[in-house]
Protein backbone atom coordinates (compact mmCIF):
# COMPACT_ATOMS: atom_id res chain seq x y z
CA UNK A 1 0.00 0.00 0.00
CA UNK A 2 1.18 3.52 -0.77
CA UNK A 3 2.53 5.26 2.26
CA UNK A 4 0.07 7.82 3.61
CA UNK A 5 1.01 11.16 5.04
CA UNK A 6 -0.28 14.46 6.32
CA UNK A 7 0.81 17.73 4.86
CA UNK A 8 0.69 20.59 7.31
CA UNK A 9 0.76 24.09 5.89
CA UNK A 10 1.12 26.70 8.62
CA UNK A 11 0.57 29.26 5.90
CA UNK A 12 -3.03 28.07 5.68
CA UNK A 13 -3.62 27.36 9.34
CA UNK A 14 -5.84 29.90 11.03
CA UNK A 15 -5.29 28.52 14.51
CA UNK A 16 -8.93 27.70 15.00
CA UNK A 17 -8.11 24.43 16.75
CA UNK A 18 -10.94 22.56 15.10
CA UNK A 19 -8.39 19.82 14.61
CA UNK A 20 -7.47 19.78 18.27
CA UNK A 21 -11.06 19.16 19.27
CA UNK A 22 -11.83 16.78 16.42
CA UNK A 23 -8.89 14.66 17.50
CA UNK A 24 -10.14 14.54 21.07
CA UNK A 25 -13.61 13.75 19.87
CA UNK A 26 -12.65 10.89 17.61
CA UNK A 27 -10.24 9.41 20.11
CA UNK A 28 -12.57 10.15 23.03
CA UNK A 29 -9.83 11.76 25.04
CA UNK A 30 -10.92 13.35 28.30
CA UNK A 31 -10.22 17.02 28.91
CA UNK A 32 -7.70 18.31 31.36
CA UNK A 33 -8.50 21.08 33.79
CA UNK A 34 -6.33 23.94 32.65
CA UNK A 35 -5.76 27.57 33.53
CA UNK A 36 -4.85 30.45 31.30
CA UNK A 37 -1.16 31.05 31.82
CA UNK A 38 -0.97 34.14 29.71
CA UNK A 39 -1.36 32.46 26.36
CA UNK A 40 -4.18 31.02 24.38
CA UNK A 41 -2.01 27.98 23.76
CA UNK A 42 -3.64 25.44 26.00
CA UNK A 43 -2.91 22.82 27.26
CA UNK A 44 0.62 24.13 27.18
CA UNK A 45 2.07 20.83 26.02
CA UNK A 46 1.04 17.51 24.53
CA UNK A 47 -0.50 15.23 27.11
CA UNK A 48 -1.57 11.60 27.04
CA UNK A 49 -4.99 13.00 26.21
CA UNK A 50 -3.83 15.54 23.69
CA UNK A 51 -2.40 14.02 20.53
CA UNK A 52 -2.54 17.09 18.36
CA UNK A 53 -1.95 20.58 19.59
CA UNK A 54 -1.70 23.90 17.86
CA UNK A 55 1.43 25.73 18.84
CA UNK A 56 1.12 29.51 18.71
CA UNK A 57 4.34 31.35 18.04
CA UNK A 58 4.62 35.13 18.35
CA UNK A 59 7.60 36.43 16.43
CA UNK A 60 8.96 39.87 15.64
CA UNK A 61 8.04 41.05 12.17
CA UNK A 62 9.26 43.76 9.84
CA UNK A 63 5.92 44.85 8.48
CA UNK A 64 3.70 44.40 11.53
CA UNK A 65 3.81 44.60 15.26
CA UNK A 66 4.15 40.86 15.40
CA UNK A 67 4.11 37.74 13.35
CA UNK A 68 1.86 34.98 14.62
CA UNK A 69 2.31 31.43 13.50
CA UNK A 70 0.13 28.42 14.07
CA UNK A 71 1.58 24.95 13.78
CA UNK A 72 0.08 21.58 14.47
CA UNK A 73 2.36 19.64 16.75
CA UNK A 74 2.08 15.87 17.03
CA UNK A 75 3.68 12.52 16.18
CA UNK A 76 5.49 12.70 12.85
CA UNK A 77 5.11 9.05 11.94
CA UNK A 78 8.80 8.76 11.15
CA UNK A 79 9.91 6.12 8.76
CA UNK A 80 12.97 5.54 10.93
CA UNK A 81 11.07 5.87 14.17
CA UNK A 82 13.18 6.33 17.27
CA UNK A 83 10.27 5.33 19.42
CA UNK A 84 9.90 1.95 17.79
CA UNK A 85 13.63 1.50 17.76
CA UNK A 86 14.04 1.95 21.46
CA UNK A 87 10.85 0.24 22.55
CA UNK A 88 11.51 -3.04 24.35
CA UNK A 89 7.98 -4.39 24.12
CA UNK A 90 7.02 -6.19 20.95
CA UNK A 91 3.94 -4.72 19.32
CA UNK A 92 3.64 -1.76 21.67
CA UNK A 93 4.64 0.60 18.89
CA UNK A 94 4.33 -0.53 15.34
CA UNK A 95 4.03 0.54 11.75
CA UNK A 96 0.67 0.15 10.10
CA UNK A 97 0.42 -0.78 6.48
CA UNK A 98 -0.25 2.86 5.70
CA UNK A 99 3.03 3.80 7.32
CA UNK A 100 1.52 5.26 10.48
CA UNK A 101 3.18 4.60 13.79
CA UNK A 102 0.49 3.04 15.91
CA UNK A 103 0.54 1.92 19.50
CA UNK A 104 -1.06 -0.80 21.54
CA UNK A 105 -1.60 0.07 25.17
CA UNK A 106 -2.04 -3.58 26.10
CA UNK A 107 1.41 -4.38 24.83
CA UNK A 108 3.05 -1.25 26.16
CA UNK A 109 4.99 -2.00 29.32
CA UNK A 110 5.15 1.58 30.47
CA UNK A 111 8.92 1.85 30.51
CA UNK A 112 8.68 5.32 28.94
CA UNK A 113 11.78 4.85 26.88
CA UNK A 114 10.09 5.85 23.65
CA UNK A 115 9.85 9.54 24.50
CA UNK A 116 13.60 9.47 24.92
CA UNK A 117 14.04 7.83 21.57
CA UNK A 118 11.72 10.27 19.83
CA UNK A 119 13.40 13.25 18.18
CA UNK A 120 10.24 15.30 18.62
CA UNK A 121 9.38 14.66 22.26
CA UNK A 122 6.05 13.20 21.31
CA UNK A 123 4.98 10.14 23.26
CA UNK A 124 3.13 10.77 26.50
CA UNK A 125 1.98 8.34 29.14
CA UNK A 126 -1.42 7.91 30.67
CA UNK A 127 -2.24 7.33 34.30
CA UNK A 128 -1.43 3.66 33.81
CA UNK A 129 1.90 4.67 32.27
CA UNK A 130 0.84 3.47 28.86
CA UNK A 131 2.05 5.21 25.74
CA UNK A 132 -0.31 7.61 24.07
CA UNK A 133 0.13 9.76 20.98
CA UNK A 134 -1.22 10.58 17.56
CA UNK A 135 -1.64 7.38 15.59
CA UNK A 136 -2.76 9.05 12.37
CA UNK A 137 -6.26 7.84 13.23
CA UNK A 138 -5.05 4.39 12.26
CA UNK A 139 -8.53 3.06 12.92
CA UNK A 140 -10.03 5.53 10.48
CA UNK A 141 -7.44 5.28 7.75
CA UNK A 142 -7.62 1.50 7.84
CA UNK A 143 -11.24 1.95 6.77
CA UNK A 144 -10.32 4.34 4.00
CA UNK A 145 -11.36 7.45 5.93
CA UNK A 146 -9.05 10.36 6.50
CA UNK A 147 -7.83 11.34 9.97
CA UNK A 148 -10.19 13.42 12.11
CA UNK A 149 -7.91 16.46 12.09
CA UNK A 150 -7.56 16.78 8.35
CA UNK A 151 -11.23 16.01 7.91
CA UNK A 152 -12.12 18.89 10.21
CA UNK A 153 -9.58 21.47 9.11
CA UNK A 154 -11.53 24.14 7.26
CA UNK A 155 -8.67 25.67 5.32
CA UNK A 156 -6.70 22.69 4.14
CA UNK A 157 -3.89 23.42 6.55
CA UNK A 158 -3.86 19.71 7.30
CA UNK A 159 -4.20 17.53 4.24
CA UNK A 160 -4.08 13.77 4.05
CA UNK A 161 -3.20 11.53 1.17
CA UNK A 162 -0.62 9.34 -0.51
CA UNK A 163 2.74 10.61 0.58
CA UNK A 164 4.16 10.90 -2.91
CA UNK A 165 1.08 12.64 -4.12
CA UNK A 166 1.15 15.15 -1.34
CA UNK A 167 4.79 15.92 -1.96
CA UNK A 168 4.08 16.39 -5.64
CA UNK A 169 1.24 18.78 -4.96
CA UNK A 170 3.23 20.79 -2.47
CA UNK A 171 6.06 21.08 -4.94
CA UNK A 172 3.67 22.37 -7.52
CA UNK A 173 2.49 24.92 -5.00
CA UNK A 174 6.06 26.16 -4.73
CA UNK A 175 7.39 24.26 -1.74
CA UNK A 176 10.54 22.77 -3.18
CA UNK A 177 11.51 20.86 -0.14
CA UNK A 178 9.16 19.94 2.63
CA UNK A 179 10.17 19.54 6.19
CA UNK A 180 10.31 15.83 6.80
CA UNK A 181 10.66 14.87 3.19
CA UNK A 182 13.95 13.08 3.84
CA UNK A 183 14.60 13.41 7.55
CA UNK A 184 14.49 10.18 9.50
CA UNK A 185 13.85 8.16 6.40
CA UNK A 186 11.01 10.52 5.56
CA UNK A 187 8.35 11.66 7.98
CA UNK A 188 4.71 10.73 7.67
CA UNK A 189 3.83 14.27 8.66
CA UNK A 190 5.28 16.80 6.26
CA UNK A 191 5.44 20.52 6.81
CA UNK A 192 5.29 23.19 4.16
CA UNK A 193 7.39 25.82 5.88
CA UNK A 194 7.99 29.19 4.33
CA UNK A 195 10.79 29.85 6.74
CA UNK A 196 13.41 28.08 8.74
CA UNK A 197 11.80 25.28 10.75
CA UNK A 198 13.27 26.81 13.90
CA UNK A 199 10.82 29.67 13.69
CA UNK A 200 8.01 27.17 13.88
CA UNK A 201 9.53 25.55 16.92
CA UNK A 202 11.01 22.60 15.05
CA UNK A 203 14.54 21.24 14.93
CA UNK A 204 16.36 22.12 11.77
CA UNK A 205 17.64 18.58 11.43
CA UNK A 206 15.68 16.22 13.64
CA UNK A 207 17.63 13.20 14.77
CA UNK A 208 17.19 10.18 16.91
CA UNK A 209 19.56 10.72 19.89
CA UNK A 210 23.05 9.61 18.87
CA UNK A 211 23.39 7.34 21.85
CA UNK A 212 20.25 5.54 20.83
CA UNK A 213 21.69 5.02 17.38
CA UNK A 214 25.00 3.89 18.92
CA UNK A 215 23.10 1.54 21.16
CA UNK A 216 21.16 0.20 18.26
CA UNK A 217 24.17 -0.26 16.01
CA UNK A 218 26.82 -1.34 18.53
CA UNK A 219 25.66 -2.13 22.01
CA UNK A 220 22.73 -4.26 21.05
CA UNK A 221 24.70 -6.58 18.78
CA UNK A 222 27.53 -6.54 21.25
CA UNK A 223 25.30 -8.03 23.90
CA UNK A 224 24.48 -10.83 21.57
CA UNK A 225 27.95 -11.45 20.35
CA UNK A 226 29.46 -10.79 23.74
CA UNK A 227 27.44 -13.47 25.40
CA UNK A 228 28.06 -15.85 22.56
CA UNK A 229 31.73 -14.95 22.52
CA UNK A 230 32.18 -15.50 26.24
CA UNK A 231 30.51 -18.85 25.96
CA UNK A 232 32.57 -19.76 22.93
CA UNK A 233 35.85 -18.75 24.55
CA UNK A 234 34.99 -20.84 27.57
CA UNK A 235 34.16 -23.84 25.47
CA UNK A 236 37.31 -23.43 23.44
CA UNK A 237 39.40 -23.18 26.57
CA UNK A 238 37.80 -26.25 28.00
CA UNK A 239 38.44 -28.22 24.88
CA UNK A 240 41.92 -26.97 24.08
CA UNK A 241 43.49 -26.49 27.47
CA UNK A 242 41.02 -28.03 29.80
CA UNK A 243 40.30 -27.50 33.45
CA UNK A 244 42.92 -26.84 36.06
CA UNK A 245 44.35 -30.04 37.47
CA UNK A 246 45.79 -29.96 40.96
CA UNK A 247 48.97 -31.74 40.01
CA UNK A 248 52.15 -29.77 40.54
CA UNK A 249 52.97 -28.01 43.75
CA UNK A 250 51.40 -25.33 45.87
CA UNK A 251 51.48 -21.62 45.03
CA UNK A 252 54.63 -20.79 46.81
Amino acid sequence: MARKALLISPELCIGCRGCQTACKSWNQLPATKTVNEGSIENPPDLTPNLYNKIRYVEMPSNSNMVRWLFVSQRCMHCDDAGCIKICPAPGALFKTKEGAVGFDKDKCIGCKLCVAGCPFDVPRYDEKDKVSKCHLCSDRIAEGLEPACSKTCPTGAIRYGDRDNIIGKAQKAGYEKLYGQVDLGGLGVLYAFKDSPKIYGMDERPQIPETVVFWHKVLKPLAYWGLGGAAAVSLLHYLVIGPKKDEGGDQL
Binding site: P88, A89, I109, L113, A223, L227, A230, H237, K244, G248
Partner: protein, 202 residues
Protein backbone atom coordinates in the same frame (compact mmCIF):
# COMPACT_ATOMS: atom_id res chain seq x y z
CA UNK B 1 41.39 -34.17 54.74
CA UNK B 2 41.47 -30.74 56.28
CA UNK B 3 38.89 -28.34 55.01
CA UNK B 4 38.95 -24.66 55.64
CA UNK B 5 36.07 -22.26 55.53
CA UNK B 6 36.31 -19.84 52.67
CA UNK B 7 32.82 -18.28 52.65
CA UNK B 8 30.31 -17.63 55.37
CA UNK B 9 26.80 -18.89 55.09
CA UNK B 10 25.61 -15.34 54.60
CA UNK B 11 28.08 -14.72 51.86
CA UNK B 12 26.95 -17.84 50.11
CA UNK B 13 23.36 -16.90 50.44
CA UNK B 14 24.03 -13.42 49.15
CA UNK B 15 26.04 -14.68 46.25
CA UNK B 16 23.19 -16.87 45.17
CA UNK B 17 20.72 -14.07 45.57
CA UNK B 18 22.94 -11.97 43.39
CA UNK B 19 23.39 -14.74 40.89
CA UNK B 20 19.75 -15.60 40.60
CA UNK B 21 18.60 -12.00 40.40
CA UNK B 22 21.24 -11.39 37.81
CA UNK B 23 20.09 -14.32 35.77
CA UNK B 24 16.52 -13.09 35.88
CA UNK B 25 17.63 -9.60 34.94
CA UNK B 26 19.88 -10.79 32.19
CA UNK B 27 17.35 -13.10 30.67
CA UNK B 28 14.55 -10.55 30.80
CA UNK B 29 17.01 -7.88 29.69
CA UNK B 30 17.84 -9.98 26.69
CA UNK B 31 14.16 -10.37 26.17
CA UNK B 32 13.70 -6.62 26.05
CA UNK B 33 16.73 -6.07 23.92
CA UNK B 34 15.66 -8.49 21.26
CA UNK B 35 11.93 -8.52 21.96
CA UNK B 36 12.03 -12.28 22.62
CA UNK B 37 8.39 -13.17 22.78
CA UNK B 38 9.43 -16.78 23.48
CA UNK B 39 10.10 -15.61 27.01
CA UNK B 40 6.40 -15.12 27.52
CA UNK B 41 6.41 -18.84 28.25
CA UNK B 42 8.48 -18.00 31.30
CA UNK B 43 7.26 -14.60 32.38
CA UNK B 44 3.74 -14.63 31.05
CA UNK B 45 3.94 -11.37 29.17
CA UNK B 46 6.17 -8.36 28.75
CA UNK B 47 4.39 -6.36 31.37
CA UNK B 48 5.02 -9.06 33.94
CA UNK B 49 8.53 -9.40 32.67
CA UNK B 50 9.06 -5.68 33.16
CA UNK B 51 7.80 -5.85 36.71
CA UNK B 52 9.94 -8.83 37.48
CA UNK B 53 12.91 -7.12 35.90
CA UNK B 54 12.33 -4.01 38.00
CA UNK B 55 11.91 -5.84 41.28
CA UNK B 56 14.72 -8.23 40.54
CA UNK B 57 16.70 -5.06 40.06
CA UNK B 58 16.03 -4.05 43.63
CA UNK B 59 17.15 -7.41 44.90
CA UNK B 60 20.21 -7.34 42.71
CA UNK B 61 21.15 -3.87 43.88
CA UNK B 62 20.76 -4.74 47.54
CA UNK B 63 22.70 -7.91 47.09
CA UNK B 64 25.40 -6.12 45.15
CA UNK B 65 25.81 -3.62 47.91
CA UNK B 66 26.22 -6.40 50.43
CA UNK B 67 28.96 -7.94 48.35
CA UNK B 68 30.99 -4.88 49.02
CA UNK B 69 31.63 -6.14 52.53
CA UNK B 70 32.67 -9.48 51.24
CA UNK B 71 34.80 -8.70 48.28
CA UNK B 72 35.71 -5.09 48.01
CA UNK B 73 38.50 -4.80 50.61
CA UNK B 74 40.46 -7.70 49.21
CA UNK B 75 39.75 -6.67 45.64
CA UNK B 76 41.32 -3.33 46.25
CA UNK B 77 44.56 -4.94 47.35
CA UNK B 78 46.52 -5.11 44.18
CA UNK B 79 50.18 -6.00 44.29
CA UNK B 80 53.03 -7.41 42.29
CA UNK B 81 51.67 -10.91 42.64
CA UNK B 82 48.45 -9.80 41.10
CA UNK B 83 50.22 -8.29 38.19
CA UNK B 84 52.24 -11.41 37.79
CA UNK B 85 49.09 -13.40 37.88
CA UNK B 86 47.82 -11.51 34.96
CA UNK B 87 51.11 -11.78 33.13
CA UNK B 88 50.79 -15.49 33.47
CA UNK B 89 47.28 -15.44 32.18
CA UNK B 90 46.06 -16.67 35.49
CA UNK B 91 47.64 -19.98 34.71
CA UNK B 92 44.88 -20.80 32.38
CA UNK B 93 46.76 -20.53 29.19
CA UNK B 94 48.57 -23.79 29.48
CA UNK B 95 48.72 -26.70 31.79
CA UNK B 96 52.22 -25.77 32.79
CA UNK B 97 52.09 -22.14 33.58
CA UNK B 98 52.42 -21.15 37.21
CA UNK B 99 51.05 -18.11 38.99
CA UNK B 100 52.37 -16.41 42.11
CA UNK B 101 50.62 -16.91 45.44
CA UNK B 102 47.21 -15.26 45.59
CA UNK B 103 45.03 -13.70 48.21
CA UNK B 104 41.64 -14.89 49.23
CA UNK B 105 40.64 -13.81 45.74
CA UNK B 106 43.02 -14.16 42.89
CA UNK B 107 43.81 -11.18 40.71
CA UNK B 108 41.30 -12.20 38.10
CA UNK B 109 38.60 -12.53 40.66
CA UNK B 110 39.51 -9.14 42.04
CA UNK B 111 39.26 -7.52 38.66
CA UNK B 112 36.10 -9.37 37.96
CA UNK B 113 34.60 -8.10 41.15
CA UNK B 114 35.54 -4.53 40.42
CA UNK B 115 33.99 -4.82 36.97
CA UNK B 116 30.84 -6.35 38.37
CA UNK B 117 30.58 -3.83 41.16
CA UNK B 118 31.03 -0.84 38.91
CA UNK B 119 28.86 -2.03 36.08
CA UNK B 120 26.39 -3.36 38.62
CA UNK B 121 26.11 0.00 40.31
CA UNK B 122 25.88 1.73 36.96
CA UNK B 123 23.22 -0.58 35.66
CA UNK B 124 21.31 -0.24 38.91
CA UNK B 125 21.49 3.53 39.00
CA UNK B 126 20.54 3.90 35.35
CA UNK B 127 17.83 1.32 35.75
CA UNK B 128 16.31 3.19 38.61
CA UNK B 129 16.52 6.43 36.69
CA UNK B 130 14.61 4.92 33.79
CA UNK B 131 12.12 3.32 36.12
CA UNK B 132 11.52 6.11 38.58
CA UNK B 133 12.10 9.13 36.35
CA UNK B 134 13.34 11.58 38.99
CA UNK B 135 12.29 15.20 38.78
CA UNK B 136 15.02 16.78 36.69
CA UNK B 137 14.96 19.64 34.23
CA UNK B 138 15.34 17.41 31.20
CA UNK B 139 14.12 13.93 31.90
CA UNK B 140 14.55 12.85 28.30
CA UNK B 141 18.29 13.57 28.44
CA UNK B 142 18.61 11.65 31.66
CA UNK B 143 16.70 8.70 30.27
CA UNK B 144 18.74 8.65 27.08
CA UNK B 145 21.94 8.74 29.13
CA UNK B 146 20.67 6.07 31.49
CA UNK B 147 19.70 3.94 28.57
CA UNK B 148 23.23 4.17 27.26
CA UNK B 149 24.80 3.41 30.63
CA UNK B 150 22.41 0.56 31.28
CA UNK B 151 23.33 -1.03 28.01
CA UNK B 152 27.09 -0.53 28.28
CA UNK B 153 27.01 -2.06 31.73
CA UNK B 154 24.88 -4.85 30.48
CA UNK B 155 27.30 -5.59 27.70
CA UNK B 156 30.17 -5.72 30.18
CA UNK B 157 28.32 -8.03 32.49
CA UNK B 158 26.97 -10.24 29.81
CA UNK B 159 30.55 -10.92 28.75
CA UNK B 160 32.06 -11.12 32.21
CA UNK B 161 29.54 -13.27 33.96
CA UNK B 162 29.65 -16.27 31.64
CA UNK B 163 33.42 -16.29 31.91
CA UNK B 164 33.09 -16.13 35.67
CA UNK B 165 30.70 -19.03 35.65
CA UNK B 166 32.97 -21.09 33.46
CA UNK B 167 36.05 -20.32 35.50
CA UNK B 168 34.23 -21.04 38.69
CA UNK B 169 32.92 -24.35 37.52
CA UNK B 170 34.28 -26.35 34.65
CA UNK B 171 37.57 -24.57 34.38
CA UNK B 172 38.31 -24.94 38.05
CA UNK B 173 36.87 -28.06 39.50
CA UNK B 174 36.27 -27.70 43.18
CA UNK B 175 35.55 -24.03 43.13
CA UNK B 176 31.83 -24.32 42.99
CA UNK B 177 31.77 -26.05 46.38
CA UNK B 178 32.71 -22.75 48.03
CA UNK B 179 29.37 -21.46 47.05
CA UNK B 180 27.67 -24.57 48.36
CA UNK B 181 29.38 -25.61 51.53
CA UNK B 182 31.56 -22.59 52.03
CA UNK B 183 34.59 -24.79 52.64
CA UNK B 184 37.50 -25.94 50.56
CA UNK B 185 40.11 -28.59 51.10
CA UNK B 186 43.26 -27.09 52.53
CA UNK B 187 45.30 -28.60 49.78
CA UNK B 188 43.10 -27.13 47.16
CA UNK B 189 43.34 -23.77 48.75
CA UNK B 190 47.12 -23.92 49.02
CA UNK B 191 47.34 -24.34 45.35
CA UNK B 192 45.15 -21.36 44.64
CA UNK B 193 45.15 -18.92 47.48
CA UNK B 194 48.47 -19.51 49.09
CA UNK B 195 48.79 -16.09 50.67
CA UNK B 196 45.38 -16.37 52.21
CA UNK B 197 46.06 -19.87 53.49
CA UNK B 198 49.20 -18.60 55.10
CA UNK B 199 47.39 -15.70 56.63
CA UNK B 200 44.87 -18.05 58.05
CA UNK B 201 47.73 -19.70 59.88
CA UNK B 202 48.04 -22.98 58.09
Amino acid sequence: MTVIRKASAFEILNHWVLAVSFLILAISGFGFLFQLEQLNAVFGNFNAMKNIHNYAGIVFTASLILTIFHYLPVSLKFGADDIAWFLNGGGYLSKKSKVPPQDELNAGQKLYYIVILLSGLAIAASGFAIWLRPQVPDIRKLVVLSHLVHNIAFDLMIIAVPLHIYLATLANPGTLRIMITGTVPLEWARKRHAKWVRKMGY
